[in-house]
Amino acid sequence: MTSNPAIAANTRPWRDPAAKPFISIQNVTKRFGDFTAVNDVSLDIYRGELFCLLGGSGCGKSTLLRMLAGFETPTEGKILIDGVDLAGTPPDRRPTNMMFQSYALFPHMSVEKNVAYGLLREGKSKTEAYAHAAEMLKLVKLEKFARRKPHQLSGGQRQRVALARALAKQPKVLLLDEPLGALDKKLREETQFELIRIQETLGVTFIVVTHDQDEAMTLATRIGVMTEGVIEQVGEPREIYETPKSRFVADFIGSVNLFEGRVGPAAPDLMRVETEDLGPVVAPPVAGLTQGQTIWLAMRPERAWLTRERPPESVNCVPGVVQDMGYVGHMSSYMVKLANGRLVRVTQANEGRRDNPISWDEHVHVSFEPADFRVLTE
């Protein structure tokens, strides 16, 4: 947080308590029969955000998106966009447009007709609609394909047509359901930055639903992690990764080692934790914990150090044996087996060309700074 806080507040309105949310989801619940898909969700999204709803399948993220689009009606609660309650407004009169996971391009219409479809429904003249459609196609670099039918395009091109069509009406909010899900890995990475470029060019508020944490981390200004119909945590990608609020979030975003432990006797500026796997360790102090309380320590694999000798200055250090390792190029991933049989994942960056890297079956020491533990109570 070295940046100027005033600028940060401008580009990050959610840090400014006085900022007015653009989209306000208030205590929304959606039930299908006995099944509660979305359970009492409240969420504020600000103008110009690229907000990611992240979660596994069936977590309710798509249902929430479909309620914003108007395809589902909330069982309880309200949704406001730009201060207007959307209850009772059918999808065709909402200031939102959606990019469908399957793209849902009209197969009987050419690319330009697909893009112009929404504009013609607005009552624009044909000349105007097609001129605007041509502009949109230029934005997604498909101007040469205007006369093609969707089936004559590649997957990536279809994805861009779907984006152009959804953006053509200049919606206040663009809803994207797994926008990159159908693309292969390389194309997906390229398209992520393309999406960000377009979003920044047009300044439209994007809400993206995805199950892919890398996608969410790359795209989002903020991420809402969902599970079982509730939003577990909302925050900037860095917040979500570094300071997960719950074991679910810690586990879902990236990989993590979780150790169960009990709070030990109080000490100034540090907290002693008694764990079964690591023995007694030192963690950063957390207010409001009582001695003997059960907590979890989350540790990211890349924060640990792996050495052959025990580092003399180390506070937290446990011995183990390398059971497995994987070389991925820029880093190596190790599974270290502790004395009690517990496996700990540790990754080490391959910075220089080390002559003698740690390998299978070696006796090693895993050490970590107290600050690298994240204390979780949920």
Binding site: N97, M98, A104, Y117, R165
Partner: protein, 353 residues
């Protein structure tokens, strides 16, 4: 090496196949022109099957695969192509009081000169006679109007079934095909009970006081339309249903999301995408309706002119087989044209998928 040889190797069996097929055609033609129909049929079927088997197994190396389609091919050949040739041959003759009641196609005089008698005069006669022309036109008109009504009635039904949740959908489909469990003839007869002077409809309307005099419905074109639309409605509904049920719901949501009202969505997305179903259903109604004989005979009046009845009269009342055959061949051509169009539309649609 293979590059230079490949075309020649592929060319030889293809030429042999063409030769074989030409031979088969020749054998069929010769046997029909000389022998009577039954023995010709048997002979050509035998020659055809043998030749086909020999050619395909010997030269194509495709015996296994070709054997699979050989059965439907033979079936079509025997029951469609052969009768067609028989009709075609009879239509070129003149009527005669003989057995069979038509003239041979050529005669050999005492000097051994062959004189060909075959002629197209039956066709000229039919095309020049207003009676036949009107019968054709009236058939097409009745079939077309019936098709339109079947479409107007069938589309909403098919749409409703396709949009129904699963257990109800199966039940509704069952209802659509249920009439097929009763004989077609009986169902048309049943309409007489509804439509006649003292039938169910007239009795009910008079009892309700809507009308004082019974309506004349039997023996009118109206009754024929009712009969045709009723009978062929399932043929309209089923292909439409099969098409509409495949319609991706996301497309409708996308249209709605882009600002289309349900009505606009229906006409800009649902209808254009269901066109293959509309065409298939319309053809399945239109084609049999053109040649319909039973419905106009039972429900229609003396002035209901349809080609099926003309054909019947020509064969069985006038016993003029050559003219009747020519009538049938022309009807076949009238039906084949829309079918070919349908085929080409469907091919284009499939390319579009």
């Amino acid at each position: 090496m293979s590059g230079a040889d490949a075309p020649r190797r592929a060319g030889l069996p293809l030429r042999m196949l063409a030769l074989g097929l030409a031979g088969l055609g020749g054998a069929v033609a010769v046997s029909f022109l000389t022998l009577n129909a039954t023995s010709a049929l048997l002979l050509s079927a035998l020659i055809g099957a043998g030749l086909l088997y020999f050619l395909l197994s010997r030269f194509m190396g495709w015996s296994d695969r070709w054997m699979v389609i050989a059965v439907p091919l033979l079936w079509l050949g025997i029951f469609f192509l052969v009768p067609f040739f028989v009709l075609g041959r009879i239509s070129l003759s003149e009527t005669m009081i003989a057995r069979p009641p038509y003239s041979p196609l050529w005669e050999t005089d005492a000097q051994g000169n062959v004189e060909i008698i075959a002629s197209l005069q039956n066709y000229w006669f039919i095309l020049g006679d207003a009676l036949y022309r009107n019968a054709y036109l009236s058939s097409i008109k009745i079939a077309a109007i019936s098709t339109v009504f079947a479409l107007l009635l069938g589309y909403p039904i098919a749409y409703y079934i396709a949009r129904s949740p699963e257990p109800r959908r199966s039940f509704l489909l069952l209802l659509v095909v249920l009439p097929f469990w009763t004989s077609f003839l009986l169902r048309v007869y049943a309409w007489i009970g509804f439509l006649r002077r003292e039938g169910v409809i007239n009795n009910t309307l008079m009892w309700l006081g809507v009308i004082d005099e019974p309506l004349v419905m039997m023996q009118t074109d109206f009754a024929v339309y009712i009969g045709i639309v009723y009978t062929y409605l399932p043929f309209m509904i089923l292909p439409l249903y099969a098409n509409l049920v495949k319609l991706d719901g996301a497309l409708l949501e996308a249209a709605s999301d882009l600002g289309a009202t349900p009505m606009v969505t229906f006409f800009t997305v649902t209808v254009p995408l269901s066109l293959p179903g509309v065409i298939a259903g319309s053809m399945l109604v239109f084609i049999p309706a053109i040649g319909e004989y039973v419905i106009p005979a039972l429900l229609g009046g003396p002035d209901t002119l349809m080609i099926g009845r003309t054909l019947w009269d020509e064969f069985f009342s006038a016993r003029d087989w050559p003219v009747a055959s020519a009538v049938a061949i022309i009807m076949l051509i009238l039906v084949v044209i829309p079918m070919m169009w349908l085929q080409s539309v469907q091919n284009r649609q499939e390319e579009g998928q």
